[in-house]
Each structure stands twice: as structure tokens, then as C-alpha cells.
Point group: C3
């Protein structure tokens, strides 16, 4: 077991790396964890014995809460291996790597947390504990890290629109029905299921796994430039007055803390409406 930073890596089983994310109190994803993810992928690819990386979380309430916006200024602008900015580099590298990635999801994973599991090759979630969401719309932003590219391909346009326009929280059973995750499993069965799958993959040839993945990738995998388009829209929207007004409401609601707000972020989004309802009532024709 090594813990370079946010991810503790268990290499105790041949062919398998298990990376456990931990960043108390609610597993926000800071820029430094993105840099660390780039390094983990590089190291796993450099070790010819590694077939599969399993990502899980040390906090069963939060897989990855969302991006740590308070640390946004620390974000590296250095293009990664793929030529893209760090987050998009992580997405592109995970989806192209001969090392197969599996997300084992317990707790909430929203925003970039959802986009991380979407970038993994497969994802399995606890029926009792997992909640997925793309709440960006509620703070006046489009998702900018891959959700808009992965979701319509995986769940179809209508369900993708429901997810990203409602910003709501989705339980694992609905996420499974929609195709957002591979499967929802009862909490006690999730660990054994993913272990069995990881060991199967570890028993196969890395060259064959990589070749099959490359052939599958001819269909249904977004390119980095498409994600960059959403990423630019995200940063452009950050500067808009409407988004700033919504985001300013987050302060004092428990944002970034182990709070009712973070536990139910998707459900609570309509609370952020900056006085719009009365304004609308007054101004609109009846």
C-alpha cells in the first residue's frame, strides 16, 4: 500500500491496482488530485503486469463530491500526454489506456465525480449508497468535463437531457436503467462482484485487453476537442452574472462541508434561485 497523496494504492494482488480516494471531509476533488491521477495512469501503464485499475473511495457517503472550486486557481494549465489540459487529459488517457479502469461507487459522485466514473471503462454502484448527479445547471454552468459528451452516447439524448438539465440526484437503480452505470448491485455484493471482475481481467493478456479496447473505441468514445468545447463553455459561463449570482448563494448553505446540502445537493438546487420567482411573478404576463 502506498499513499502518495489523495489516492492510496493497493498493489497486493497481481495485475490489479486498487486506488482509494480520500480527501476529508467530503472527498472534494482538488486540482492536485488531478495531477496525481495523471501520474497514477502513467505508472500503471509503465508496469507491464498491470491489467486493471479499480477506483473506489474511503468515504462511503462520498465517492467524489465534486470539484473543489475554492482551489480552482491551483489548476495546472500544462498540457498533458494527450495535448489537452489536465482534466481532459485524464479522461482521454483513461479511455485509451490498455490498462482497464473500473469505478466502484459508493456514496455520492457529482459533477466532475460523475465525469470521472464516466471516463472509466466500466462502473458499478451500490444500490443503497450511490447517488450520481450533474448539478452544474443549478449554479448556472454547463458540465465541462465530459458529461455532455459521454451521456448522450450512453443513455440516449432524452435521458442525457433529463440528467444535465434537471441537475437532480439519481439513485443507482435509475442510473443502471438509463445506462449511466453498468450495474447497480446490493451494497454487500458490490465488493465481491468487482473483485471477481478485476481478477478475471487480471488473468487475461494485457495486449489482448488493449487491442479489444482499441477496436471498441472506434465507436462511442468522444474526442478531446469535443470535451474542450464544453470546458470552454464552462469557464465562459463562470464569468456570467447569472452564474455568479447563483454561486454566491452557496456560501453559508453548507457547500463543501459535510452537510445536509452536500448530501442532497441535486435535490437542493432550486433553493439557489437568486430571487427569480418573485421577479418572474411580477414581470411576466398572466
Amino acid at each position: 500500500m502506498s499513499a502518495a497523496g489523495y489516492f492510496a494504492i493497493d498493489r497486493s494482488e497481481p495485475g490489479i491496482w486498487r486506488a482509494t480516494f480520500s480527501n476529508p471531509p467530503i472527498n472534494l476533488l482538488p486540482p492536485a488530485a488531478i495531477t496525481e491521477l495523471q501520474a497514477i495512469i502513467t505508472a500503471a501503464e509503465a508496469d507491464a503486469f498491470v491489467r486493471v485499475m479499480v477506483f473506489d473511495s474511503a468515504d462511503s457517503d462520498f465517492f467524489i463530491a465534486h470539484f473543489d472550486t475554492a482551489k480552482a486557481a491551483e489548476m495546472s494549465r500544462e498540457p498533458g500526454w494527450s495535448g489537452h489540459s489536465p482534466w481532459i487529459d485524464v479522461v482521454i488517457r483513461l479511455s485509451r489506456s490498455p490498462v482497464i479502469s473500473i469505478a466502484k461507487i459508493s456514496g455520492r459522485t457529482r459533477g466532475v465525480g460523475s465525469e470521472f466514473v464516466l471516463a472509466c471503462d466500466m462502473r458499478f454502484a451500490s444500490r443503497q449508497r450511490a447517488i450520481l448527479g450533474q448539478p452544474e445547471v443549478g449554479v448556472g454552468l454547463p458540465p465541462g468535463g465530459g458529461a455532455l459528451e459521454w451521456l448522450p452516447r450512453l443513455v440516449g439524448r432524452a435521458r442525457a437531457l433529463e440528467i444535465v438539465l434537471s441537475g437532480d440526484d439519481f439513485r443507482a437503480d435509475v442510473a443502471e436503467r438509463y445506462g449511466w452505470i453498468n450495474r447497480a448491485l446490493d451494497d454487500h455484493a458490490l465488493g465481491p462482484f468487482v473483485d471477481d471482475l478485476a481478477r478475471r481481467l487480471a488473468s487475461f493478456d494485457r495486449e489482448t485487453l488493449g487491442e479489444i479496447k482499441t477496436l471498441v473505441n472506434r465507436v462511442g468514445v468522444p474526442d478531446g476537442d469535443a470535451i474542450e468545447t464544453s470546458n470552454r463553455a464552462f469557464f465562459d459561463a463562470l464569468a456570467r452574472t447569472a452564474a455568479q449570482a447563483r454561486r454566491s448563494q452557496l456560501a453559508g448553505m453548507g457547500y463543501g462541508e459535510r452537510s445536509d446540502f452536500e448530501l442532497n445537493f441535486g435535490r437542493r438546487l432550486p433553493d439557489l434561485q437568486p430571487g427569480a420567482a418573485p421577479v418572474l411573478s411580477a414581470a411576466r404576463p398572466t
Copy 2:
């Protein structure tokens, strides 16, 4: 509440238009209702406060029964805003509009009725009351208003073929499993679910909603020319002897009336076979 014609529009809640379709006895869709839909979309877009349009029906047995073929000659040929003929203009405008559209489906919606809900951004249906179908094949025609373009993208080729080649009636739970609709909900839960979703959308910024939708639309939305191809095939097939022979059988069966035939149109399609079975039995080698 205003009722310009076939659609009564309830504007009582800020940001939400609820358009209820009514055309007794079975909610056939006449050409004039298509013109009205074009006007409703134009008006909703012109009102900067409108975020979401919810479409439902005044008849819980029929959402939109199907096109009113008896009035086909009244169909305008005038190209709409999109440059396409009126029905395709409705499809294209709904799918590109910054105003989000939701179909709330109780009762049957077949043919152009299914194609209408497919053109809405999202669709939710009563588990007990909704039935979807594309029965065109049974009267010798290909679907011509978008089904052949939306369905393979949403439900995959094999299920799309099952839907459009069988022409059968599909209950909401199967339609949900296939991805034809977002979700099937118990009848008593459908209204509250759609209300909650519409109010969420109404609490967000129209600019953000529209921007996200535009980004999602890079994948999985058909263009007007593709639908025009099917539309021409539909009208070409109308002139074929086989289609005319099948359609001539509709008279006297309860077509267009509140009848067992219209309640079970999909199931009844094999009844329309114009004497084919005995001919086939005699002529084919054994």
C-alpha cells in the same frame, strides 16, 4: 388559460407553459394543430421567461391517436422557420429550442403521436394508461415523421426494428426498458413527478438550459433532411396499390372513432391483411 384551438395553454406558474391537447373524440392530430404547434413554439421562445413547455392531453385514453388522414389535403406545404415542411419544422424546432419540452403521456400515442413525443426533449408516461406504437407498416407505409430517425439512436437498431416492423402496441414499462420514453411512472405519480421536474427547470437560467441543450445536440439528434427522406418515402408509399388496399380496409372497422379498433390499433393490424393469407397458401411452394 388560453385556448387558441387544439391546445389549451396554462401559464399560471412562472416559467412553465402547460399545453393540453384536445380534439374529441380520440385526439386525432389534424394539420391545423401542426400549424398551432408552430405558433406555440414561436410564442414560447418570444417570452424570455419561459423555460419549459409541458405537453399533455385532455383525454386519458388518447394522448395523440394518430394523424387525421381524412384532413391530409389541408396540410400546409409552406416551409417553416427551419426551412422544412410544417411537421418536420415542429420536430426540428422542438429539438433545437432553448425552451425545454416535456411530454406527459397518458393513453395511446401512435404514429405521429409517437413522433411528437420523440421530438420532445423528455417524455414520461403512465405505467397503467400509456401505449405507444408506430402502426404505419400495417397500412403499407413507413413512418414518415421522425420515428425512423429517433428510434435507432434511442433504443438501438434491434428494438427500433421491432417497434417499426411489428407495428405493435407497446406498454409504458416496455417503452421504458427500451429507452423510447425516459420513465414509466405509476399513474398517480406521473403528474407530481413532471410538476417537480418542470419547476426545477423553471428555477434555472434559460441561457444555461439552452446552452447545455445545444452542447448535447452535437450527438444523437437527426437533421431535417434525414426526416425528409422518410417523409418522401411515406408519401410515395401512399400511392402504392398495396398501401391503398390495406388502407381501404380501415373503413368500417372503427378507424378514427372511439372504438375497440382505435383502442387496440397495434394489436389489430394483422386484421388488415387484404386476403393475403389464402393467396399465399395457394401460391407458395411447400
Copy 3:
């Protein structure tokens, strides 16, 4: 009823051919059966009364076990009607034919057996008896007959990767949830359901069925060249040492026989690992 070879064809109902595959002991698919499939498609298309071909199996434990690799040398290299090699010719012709194809699956269908049902227009499977799998990865090979092209389009990338990278056995209910098959049906209901559907299709016009299928085929159907790419990768991998080492382990395990191994092929794949675990344990850093 005629039995030209591996497929017994029942033409007793107008418009419907029922082709039952039989090759004891476990319904391996030999090269000669591929040639026979090409001839069946040609004959069905030449009979203007045929609307639908239903494929099933005489063995309720095995639909098509997998390719009969012992007879690989008998494989014709003669390009078929489509200009592609025989197997790919079958895939392309089934997917383009005006005659609609339905797979009625009881028992196991793996490897080329899964690729055969994927090439059919629709597929329905026994909830109690059907098992689908693409076990190629476990013997060091990529699937080479269409799975890598059909699956990401039908089930999405993440589930496609799970299927072809795990090589595992999948029960019908999971295959239905993923969209690999149209529906899982209780064993007693499978026959009546497919009979009803086939009779519906047989009651419609062949020209209309073919026209609708052609219009659907604008989206979601792979071209022959894409499948050829995977096919070449399959044959290239056959020559690799790793694949040969894995395949050499099959001898003596019950491969090709009515054995526990063939009944549970997908589950048993990790058994084929050629001494990799100890090597890995010794060589890899901890």
C-alpha cells in the same frame, strides 16, 4: 420440412421460414454451416412470399456453442455476395435483407453464436435457459465476427467493454437490461411470443418491411470493412504465442464436448491462464 444439412427449414406457415440449427453434440458452428446460411438467405430472398426467417436450435442447452475451430481450415475464402469473406457476408446480408430475421435463443450462444444473433434483426431469449458470451479474450483473441461493431452501438461503450473484456457468461435478464437482446421471456412464453411476432410480420408487405429496414439502417449498422478489421485482428492474434499457450490449455478440459467446461465456458475462462499468476507474483514489484 427440409434438412439440407445443419439447418432444418420448416416452411409450413405462409411467409415464414423457421430454420432450426442442429449439430450434435453441442451445436458448434462449422464452416460448412456458414456456407449453408449464405444459401438459405439467397433462397429466402428469391421466394417473394418470405417475409421472415426465425432461427432457433434443436438443442435447448446450446443455440450455437461457438465456432468449430477444429474445422477452421475448411473455411472458404471465396468472397460472398457482399464482396466479403463468408462469415462477414452472412452478417452483412442478414442486416441488409428485405427478409426480416429473428433469433429465438434457448441455451448458450457464445463467440460467433453471439455474433450470429447480433446480426439478426431482432433476438429474443429464454430467461431460464439462454446464456450469451464473447469468451474470445480468455483464449487470447479479439472477437472477429461483428461483436466489436454491434455491441457498442447497442449497449453503449461501458457495457460493451464489460462483455468483451470480461468474456463472462451473461444470463438473459442482464442481456436484456443491457440491450444485447430485445427481450428476455420466460421459457414457456418465448415460443408463443416469437410465433405471434413472426405471424404479424408475415401479414405485412415485404416491400414495406424492406423499405423501413433500409431507412432504419442509415443509423447503427456497421459496414463490412469495420468487421474485416476485427476479423484480421482475430487471425493475427491466433498466431501470437500468448494465444497459442492459452488455446493449448483447452485440450483435455472438455472443449468442444458436452462438458461442464462448455456449459460454463465464460465462468471457466480464468482457468486457462497459462501459469501467469505465479510468474506475476514473482516478478512484479510490491
